[in-house]
């Protein structure tokens, strides 16, 4: 069943099925791109509503709906980051951790900062590859790059993070 098509025709059940199937990975992606829960939720909402618009360019023969939705989330996140001029970085929020988890929370904040400091395309590629376990060919479609370019950006992102997060490797060992 072509859910986006049914949703566009007004089928609420199809629309909600699409939402239920995809909203959580899309939210994770948006959150890790923007660093803001509120922005991520707005982006996810906007992403599903965009599927309903007459000018929506989604074509089920050209791409999976998941790939298309991830592409929208990326574009929307980019727009917000440009508008906020990197404000997302400071808005990465973490709830207070209980004693004993302080180190973990610190590490979490450091990872978030390091990932968010990556250049935008490297960041998107790394998040999709590492956190979403998306195949490289699909990542290439989401970010609009050739497969080779995706591989090189992923490698650069990993190398950059290894440098930035090197000091935490020993902390992680200590936590275990």
């Amino acid at each position: 069943m072509d859910l986006p098509r049914a949703a566009r025709k007004g089928d609420e059940a199809a629309f909600l099925q699409l939402f239920d199937e995809h909203h959580w990975p899309l939210f994770r992606f948006a959150y890790r791109l923007t660093g803001s829960r509120a922005d991520a939720e707005d982006i996810v909402q906007e992403c599903f509503l965009q599927l309903l618009r007459p000018e929506c360019s989604y074509n089920s023969r050209r791409a999976e709906v998941r790939t298309y939705l991830f592409g929208i989330v990326r574009n929307q996140s980019l727009k917000r980051l440009r508008r906020n001029d990197g404000a997302g970085l400071s808005s990465v929020g973490f709830s207070p951790s209980p004693e004993g988890q302080v180190l973990r929370a610190e590490l979490e904040a450091a990872v978030a900062r390091a990932v968010m400091q990556l250049p935008e395309t490297q960041r998107a590629v790394l998040i999709l590859a590492h956190y979403e376990q998306m195949p490289l060919a699909e990542i290439a479609k989401v970010v609009g790059l050739e497969l080779g370019a995706v591989k090189s950006r992923l490698q650069r992102a990993r190398n950059g993070l290894k440098e930035k997060l090197a000091i935490y490797a020993t902390d992680l060992e200590r936590q275990r």
Partner: protein, 240 residues
């Protein structure tokens, strides 16, 4: 640090849960979008929808009849405008994977620096084509009728004439010689559009600087350009 250590460190970054209201909000906005899309539900149900459908079908039938009965060349004989030539163009859009599809064909002409649309057609979309041709024809008639009453800006016309006389260049613009298109020599100009795509336009000095080719490209992060859209002339129809 090895790959496994990096993976373990990256896994330390968790994502908070979505708020419970997200699903409700999306659902509410879905319902609201339906309300906007289907005015018939708000304004009296099927009766309004039927009237609208009949009107559209009648307009379409009339448009198709006019379109079939009166050829484009003959249509222009009704106009007050002097149209020395028309150009048929093809618009193509390119996907991220490099595949392309023809979006639209147009026939248009130029008047005082403005491109005036004579007709459009959309491949495999007869309904949209029919409707567009009705709208284009009405738009053209309105434009033509309004001409005697429109006060043209003298400065604008002088600048336009100078632009054509100078071989499609204005002071300060850098142009280069382009390839001949359909037998017409062209000059090329590059400029940037909002959001940073690059546009390139091929204008024909012998056709009042009509744009015979236009491409829009987006710069990739590796410095190369990816083609987004093209428009190219496929025929120039000179009128007696």
């Amino acid at each position: 640090m090895n790959d496994q250590e990096l993976k373990d460190i990256l896994d330390a970054w968790d994502v908070p849960p979505v708020t419970g209201s997200l699903r409700q909000n999306v659902r509410a906005r879905f319902a609201a979008s339906l309300e906007r899309e289907l005015p018939s539900k708000r304004w009296g149900g099927w009766f309004t929808a039927k009237i609208a459908a009949v009107t559209v079908v009648c307009l379409l039938a009339l448009g198709l009849f006019v379109n079939e009965a009166v050829p484009q060349v003959a249509k222009m004989d009704f106009l007050l405008l002097n149209v020395p030539f028309t150009v048929d163009s093809e618009f193509t859009r390119y996907a991220d994977d490099g595949s392309s599809s023809v979006e639209m064909y147009t026939t248009s002409f130029t008047h005082n620096g403005y491109e005036v649309l004579l007709s459009r057609s959309f491949p495999d979309q007869p309904f949209r084509t029919g409707l567009s041709q009705v709208m284009d024809w009405i738009g053209l008639l309105m434009f033509d009728i309004s001409l005697p009453f429109s006060k043209g800006s003298g400065k604008q016309e002088t600048a336009r004439t100078a632009f054509i006389k100078n071989g499609c260049t204005a002071s300060g613009q850098i142009v280069s010689t382009g390839e001949a298109i359909l037998g017409y020599r062209t000059v090329v100009i590059h400029y940037n559009l909002p959001d940073d795509p690059r546009a390139t336009l091929w204008m024909a000095p012998d056709l009042a600087c009509f744009g015979l080719k236009f491409i829009i490209e987006k710069k990739q992060s590796d410095g190369t350009f990816h083609l987004l859209q093209t428009r190219r002339a496929i025929r120039v129809n000179l009128r007696q």
